[in-house]
Symmetry: C2
Subunit: 84 residues, 2 copies
């Protein structure tokens, strides 16, 4: 793996993993007043399209990263709708 | 542009643009209690690495999308630190 690939891999891990602490915080506190419904609606739709893009272009890393991100984003979105 | 490229383009626009309504909401309300500091720290670092990945691999769309996302994420992060 060259250093540019490694950089991309680190970037993907960080942006994907970042939604986990937000999901945990939202589940624990149910405090969603400062969270934007519009952001999570657009973002969940976007990660779904990224997942489909990965699927149709046979790009497994894009599929996996976005499937994981979509799960976290969907949890936050559901909590935002339920506890707004 | 084929349909898979178009799908990726739509995905990139959605995930990038999604942070704008969150940034606007955070600037307007200064309500950051429900926002995860850990999320935005990891996410800002991740988008910076994505930007560098785009730079070193001569991938202009990745560079532009992540530069824009990084600006929005940095605004939210600064507000979270300032108004926690």
């Amino acid at each position: 793996m060259n250093s540019i690939t490694l950089l991309g891999f680190a970037a993907a891990v960080l942006t994907t993993a970042s939604f986990l602490p937000q999901a945990i915080k939202t589940i624990r506190t149910k405090d969603t007043s400062g969270i934007s419904l519009f952001m999570y609606s657009l973002f969940a739709m976007g990660t779904l399209l990224w997942f489909l893009f990965g699927l149709f272009s046979n790009n497994m890393p894009v599929m996996i990263a976005n499937a994981v991100t979509l799960i976290f984003a969907a949890i936050i979105l559901v909590y935002k709708i339920k506890y707004k």
